[in-house]
Amino acid sequence: MPKISYIEAVTSAIREEMARDENVFVLGEDVGKRGGVFRATNGLYEQFGEERVIDTPLAESAIAGVGIGAAMYGMRPIAEIQFADFIMPAVNQIISEAAKIRYRSNNDWQCPLTIRAPYGGGIHGALYHSQSIEAIFANVPGLKIVMPSTPYDVKGLLKSAIRSNDPVLFFEHKRAYRLIKGEVPDDEYTLPLGKADVKREGEDITVITYGMCVHFAMQAAENLAKEGYDAHILDLRTVYPLDKEAIVEAAKKTGKVLLITEDNKEGSIISEVAAIIAENCLFDLDAPIKRLAGPDVPAMPYAPTMEKYFMVNPDKVEAAMKELADF
């Protein structure tokens, strides 16, 4: 199988879906000639023309709202928000509109819209180009939130998002774009939304996480394996609504659970994961649930000292895993 980068997986998923279905189109800021500021839509303008790869005015509420309208008509828009941090002006359209269209119309209308946005830190992006913003939407029934960690998952899940008849927020880790490479089959495939994935089987401790932290955990697990600790790693992939069964199963498997997010700790995705475990398999636990996350400060500073202090990294993950294993 060929190895491609995380961002190439994004581009090829979009390209294939656009070729497959003429109702699929892309809209966003700088997605056309420029091919996106990260170049995720690179080449699509040339291949599909400016009518299907639309450079919009600088206005996120319109990007989402126009996408919603087109989706209700029957198109399958893929809206790009340039940085996840800039999704905020579109929150009303996403939460009040996209998420509620099917429900409020008693299944008469639907909104097959995909919103993509790069998120995450560790790239000197400072307060407004580094945030994890999924928690804002992770209490909004009607939405699905996908945050893949590998090129394989990116491609399969992005295709499913585009084909889904419901709105999907698809958050891509911007540091993973060029850093993470992986095997992706040439043949067409999709992966189911809403399903977590065991990325490593293990017996001693369970790590549940998503995004870049999956890679940190995998790396730490290899180091710890040499010391005789065997980690089980569950990649949530879809962070809302969560795959409760997979979470409970993974927690029960080892009885020691470490939850990791690079988001601020309080009120994050892993809070709900902890709640699910505490509700469903408390008596299977041999240690308190442990959470590793960013500190509760507004966002990641620019200066390298403070950015590093904020960020979850492989060392912090390894230390937390070891501490839990030794509990």
């Binding site: 099917r102 409020r104 008693n106 008469d108």
Partner: protein, 331 residues
């Protein structure tokens, strides 16, 4: 050629009688809703009263077999013309399972009915404006000759979505009609505390599009403006911003008490221009509507509304646990 205004606009005598009937039906359903509310039978009403001419005049200028409408909560006149029935509206008022808008999930006034191309709406104002632009974009991409028509109040024209949506449509010359139903108040806040330009339609200049203000009490004036806007839209000449000026004859909603912020005299003065009456006079003057004809129409509509009320009142609510349905599509 006839000197009658509606003939000059290409409307037949039957057309204007139909126009009148739809306006009157909207008014009479609305009045029924208030009665039901005051009798404690339905929890909420939000009215079209005073805006029927703008709504029906505009709707009749559209192609009701092709165009998509994205109405706001007062637009009973629009949805009636587009095929919603008195029964549908009463079912919505009573929040019954059979309500085609939402199965009783939303308050009355939150219109939506896919088979009639009435696009589902919500409560937060102005969100429908970018949606209409999305329909316009789809028309352009799919080379279809429908247009999207959306409405909102003058207060709502101050929301960011108004600006972002119209700007998008203007850049891409999309077939969309934006119609502001200026009724002088946003709940208690009068026009002059909402905006500082003379006409809401002055805002068209910000987008380089056609802007126009018309008398919202005159359905023929509105018909004319919207007809022309539709022609421009399908000809690829882009969107238009039309403002209809009228007056909100009722309190904002059944929860409001308008005596705390406006004088009775002001309302009485506005009632003199009530479009139901002024249009009746026009039809009378044109020899199309006699006193008896009027009474006949009223009693016909009253029967329709009585039946609809009966039906809706007796219809069942949705089962409690159906509240769990349709969060996501069935895979």
């Amino acid at each position: 050629m006839s000197k009658l205004r509606h003939h000059q606009l290409g409307l037949t005598d039957d057309d204007v009688i139909a126009m009148y009937e739809t306006m009157l039906l909207a008014r009479m359903i609305d009045e029924r809703m208030w009665l039901l509310n005051r009798a404690g039978k339905i929890p909420f009403v939000i009215s079209c009263q005073g805006q029927e001419a703008a709504q029906v005049g505009a709707a009749m200028a559209l192609d009701k077999d092709k165009d998509y409408v994205l109405p706001y909560y007062r637009d009973m006149g629009v949805v009636l013309h587009f095929g919603m029935t008195a029964k549908d509206l009463l079912l919505s008022g009573f929040a019954k399972a059979e309500d085609p808008n939402s199965g009783g999930r939303q308050m009355p006034g939150h219109f939506g009915q896919k088979k009639n191309r009435i696009v589902t709406g919500s409560s937060p104002v102005t969100t429908q404006v970018p949606h209409a632009v999305g329909f316009g974009l789809a028309a352009k991409m799919k080379r279809q000759d429908f247009i999207a028509f959306t409405t909102f109040g003058e207060g709502s024209s101050n929301q960011g979505d108004f600006h972002e949506g119209i700007n998008f449509a203007s850049v891409h010359d999309l077939p969309v009609i934006f119609m502001c139903e200026n009724n002088k108040y946003a709940i208690s806040v009068p026009l002059e505390k909402q905006l500082n330009c003379q006409h809401v339609s002055d805002r068209a200049a910000a987008y380089g599009i056609h802007g126009e203000t018309v008398d919202g009490n005159d359905p023929l004036a509105v018909y004319e403006a919207v007809s022309k806007a539709r022609k421009r839209a399908v000809n690829g000449e882009g969107p238009s911003l039309i403002e209809t000026v009228s007056y909100r004859l009722t309190p904002h909603s059944s929860d409001d008490d308008d005596s705390t912020y406006r004088a009775k005299e002001e309302v009485e003065e506005a009632k003199k221009l009530d479009p139901i009456h002024t249009f009746e006079e026009y039809l009378h003057g044109a020899g199309l509507l006699s006193h008896e004809g009027k009474e006949e129409i009223r009693s016909k509509l009253r029967n329709i509304i009585d039946d609809a009320t009966d039906y809706a009142e007796k219809a069942p609510y949705a089962e409690p646990e159906t509240a769990l349905k349709y969060v996501y599509g069935e895979e």
